[in-house]
Symmetry: none
Subunit: 225 residues, 2 copies
């Protein structure tokens, strides 16, 4: 895996600088936000492995932010750790209620921070559960085995086709815009031509059947259910 991504949320720039420095030294990819709203936006974009969240923040506090993050399906594998001043033990309890995975007390000791973060990420890795299988209308998709089963017949799709199908089947019936398809399957920074998606859709239609994939002109595609 490339370096683990950490999103750091705190309204004090000093703290951000301190923590960022130490985490970057330990080879993490660090992103930061100074309030809850920004945090959620960035979290959705970069899909961090771990979010370090200050409890005390103006406007939307850490607790509220945590709850909102936990409501994002796409972030359910993200760990959340609270940064709390020692003695605010109420925060800790309420924090776990809000869906936090750990808390780290201030003042931050760099060494402790880094080993704590490492321990958390290790825990996350070992928790990697088998992926759930998605199925609809005679098609089942198994991410662990990287295969698609159509009426009992096993197919092995190439990576991009598999990911595209996964995406569309993640919410059958829902239309995914070309834009959102590009950003989930190809990534935000990759630039590919207009016809690339079409070609992949075509391959899926060839392999699985025309009718599963509905074109919504001017918008995108959806998996028919």
């Amino acid at each position: 895996m490339e370096n683990p991504k950490i999103l750091l949320v705190d309204d004090e720039q000093d703290i951000i600088d301190l923590i960022r420095y130490n985490l970057e030294k330990a080879d993490f990819e660090v992103h930061s936000a100074s309030n809850g709203k920004e945090a959620i936006r960035i979290a959705r974009k970069v899909q961090p492995d771990l979010i370090l969240l200050d409890v005390m923040m103006p406007e939307m506090d850490g607790m509220e932010t945590c709850i909102q993050i936990r409501e994002q399906a796409e972030l359910k594998n993200t760990l959340i750790a609270f940064l709390t001043a020692r003695g605010e033990d109420y925060s800790q309890i309420a924090g776990f209620d809000a869906g936090a995975d750990d808390y780290i007390t201030k003042p931050i000791k760099p060494r402790v921070l880094v080993s704590r973060v490492n321990a958390l990420l290790r825990r996350k890795a070992s928790l990697t559960k088998p992926e759930k299988k998605k199925s609809a209308k005679g098609i089942m998709i198994d991410k662990d085995r990287y295969i698609v089963v159509k009426n009992g017949e096993e197919l092995t799709l190439p990576k991009k086709e598999f990911e595209l199908l996964s995406l569309l089947m993640s919410q059958p019936g829902r239309v995914f815009t070309r834009e959102s398809i590009l950003s989930s399957v190809w990534g935000n920074d990759v630039i590919v031509g207009d016809r690339t998606i079409d070609v992949h859709i075509r391959k899926l239609r060839e392999k699985l059947g025309e009718h599963y994939f509905k074109t919504v002109k001017g918008v995108g595609y959806k998996f028919n259910d």
Copy 2:
């Protein structure tokens, strides 16, 4: 069993001498290291039953060393106990997070140390169960005897090949990414070239048969079931 092996890691020679004297008197085979890197090297070599690890060390501290040791598959049966100054209670928490099995507070009292070590080793002995045998499609793998049986024919595979096969067979059909293969078979800190996994896969294919190992381009490998 011959005398239990203990690896002692501390940067202060005095402490090493003291502990070594007492442990040797109690009939243990004692090895020592004065820093984390050396510790890992020796641990891999002598496969100690127990590692006594000082928390406070220059360069790589005990916590970090512990984490790295825990990442070595071959050392997963090794016990790790921290040596910590009384009152550093943060260390204890973080230490268990890092994968420690016990901690012993300084200053060291020889009698306490020896009985603590004995207790730990007793615990270990009772925990070491015979490994389970895995089998699938005419191949059975016996971790205790370190052999692979293919249609009744016994093969002895070299370590890396054996571990790679073990991993893939631990969940037949499931795709393991190159990343996860590297981290379980080689360890997270070892850097080996891109083609190393391929070569080992090739050897397995040669010895066991092409069809058992399926390449999933851009993703990884799986054991075919």
